[in-house]
């Protein structure tokens, strides 16, 4: 029998580790099980990436992306349920929470504006490295090449940017 592709082989070896990791990250063994299951479906449908360095690290990273996508989908769902609850609960004297939803949307827009303004105020190289990764999806190596600096400088730039942005939102 042919050897399984490297990602599948790594998954078989590391399934337990991945489950433990995502149980800690999500606080739920059931959610972790779902994430790891989704991960398996994804890797069994894809070709092995040409630039794969570590199959294990790839699994952790892809699983983390799936976890964040789930969280995002849940927020979207909650927002939609909330919107509907305003119709179904209508007619009664109770104030149906229309204001908080708008407040929330406004607050998150304002937070985004603050973050974008904070990026504008960063030193030019720092801002460029951050934007190239976050908004253009370049890898650290590609950014290093683009900016003509070392890879570790790129990492330091992005750390500086993130530190500033986190303090901006949560002083």
């Amino acid at each position: 029998m042919a050897d399984p592709p490297p990602l599948i082989a790594a998954y078989m070896r590391k399934r337990g580790d991945l489950l433990r990791f995502f149980t800690m990250r999500t606080g739920s063994a059931a959610t972790a099980e779902d994430i790891v299951q989704d991960l398996f479906v994804k890797i069994s449908e894809m070709e092995t990436p040409a630039d794969l360095r570590s199959a294990e690290a790839f699994l952790y990273r892809m699983g983390s992306n799936l976890m964040l996508d789930r969280a995002k989908a849940q927020r979207r769902q909650a927002a939609r349920d909330h919107a509907w609850s305003q119709t179904t609960a209508g007619g009664g004297p109770e104030p149906v929470a229309a204001e908080p939803a708008q407040d929330e949307a406004l607050a998150s827009r304002q937070r985004l504006e603050r973050l974008l303004a904070a990026i504008d105020k960063l030193p030019p190289q720092v801002a460029a490295a951050f934007r190239l990764q976050k908004f253009d999806g370049l890898t650290h190596a590609e950014i290093a090449q683009r900016l003509g600096v070392s890879r570790s400088s790129v990492e330091k730039y992005i750390m500086t940017a993130l530190r500033t942005l986190v303090s901006e939102i949560e002083p």
Partner: protein, 322 residues
């Protein structure tokens, strides 16, 4: 370094380390031992997990940044974002054909959506409504100014409907019309049978053409309505909504259901009709089947049920195994 006076040194250190990990793990040079070390750090202190989530939150919030936030440097040489490519491969988009309605007509366009047998598709309508279509489904959608309307031919789909108080969302399935008052539910229309199962929110079902009249039924979470074409009545029963919607993740889930109903559900996945011999119709089935060909699904059923599968050129016959 931006240290505000009211930030404690521990919090500051946790935040510093969280930023380090976020950048390290985003690098394609990260190794398995990096991830294990990260896990150990998270486990050390709940404050570490909190600090890391704050970094992730900032990162995620920037996803809604406008395209103008991009660096001008990268515009020289655009390259596909890895995650987008990955997502694109999974959620294949659907080809939508516009029928009727000339380009300048004020009539709303009707879109036609079809899926081949065995292929699930996610369709997003212009109003943000998401429809997950099961294989072998055919439906049309018309987003008008006063109402939004979907007509289901032979089809099964899960609807996640965007709210628009000025435009009700109506679904026609056979001689039933479903009015959406809530958010996520499954509609199956096959062989003269309409089944509506609700996972979130509320939907109303009434005879077609009776818009505005009293609803035949108002379904909430965990309820399922079944109607057969031509019959005046609808049956409402409790349903496990996750089981009813399991096909969206490639499985069929049956809990203590009659073999004849299970056969009807599997029947949608093949071209030959499945017939069940009278003495086997009421056999109770509890099973989780991976969605595949009709033959494969019946084959796995026969492995743990006293059922015999007879393949004939024009149909498949199920009977009790002796």
């Amino acid at each position: 370094m931006t240290t505000s006076p009211n930030t404690s040194p521990t919090l500051e250190a946790a935040r510093e380390r969280a930023v380090f990990w976020h950048v390290r793990l985003a690098s394609d040079a990260a190794s398995e031992s990096d991830w294990l070390a990260f896990e150990a750090w998270l486990a050390e202190d709940p404050a570490h997990q909190k600090a890391y989530e704050a970094v992730e939150q900032v990162w995620a919030e920037l996803d809604s940044a406008p395209p103008s936030a991009r660096s001008n440097l990268a515009a020289l040489q655009p390259r596909p974002n890895r995650r987008t490519v990955l997502a694109g491969a999974v959620a294949a988009s659907i080809a939508a054909a516009a029928v009727g309605a000339g380009l300048w007509s004020l009539q709303p366009r009707t879109m036609v959506f079809e899926t081949p047998v065995g292929e699930r598709r996610l369709v997003t309508l212009a109003d943000g409504t998401r429809i997950t279509m099961n294989g072998g489904s055919h439906l049309t959608a018309t987003l008008g100014r006063r109402e939004r309307r979907v007509a289901m031919a032979d089809a099964e789909a899960v609807f996640d409907v965007a709210k628009d108080p000025h435009r009700p969302f109506l679904i026609e399935a056979g001689d039933r019309e479903i009015r959406v008052v809530g958010t996520e539910f499954n509609v199956l229309h096959h062989g003269g049978r309409v089944a509506v199962a609700v996972r979130r929110g509320v939907v109303e079902v009434r005879p077609k053409g009776a818009t505005g009249g009293p609803a035949a039924a108002r379904l909430t979470k965990g309820q399922m309505l079944v109607h057969r074409r031509g019959e005046p009545d609808d049956q409402v029963a409790a349903v496990d909504p996750d089981a009813a919607l399991a096909w969206t993740t490639g499985r069929l889930v049956f809990k203590n259901e009659r073999l004849v109903d299970v056969a009807a559900a599997i029947d949608r996945y093949g071209s030959r009709p499945i017939v069940v011999s009278p003495e086997a119709r009421d056999l109770k089935v509890t099973a989780v089947l991976e969605i595949g060909s009709e033959e494969a699904m019946l084959g796995s059923l026969a492995q743990f049920m006293p059922v015999q599968v007879e393949q004939r050129p024009d149909r498949i016959r199920l009977s009790l195994r002796r």
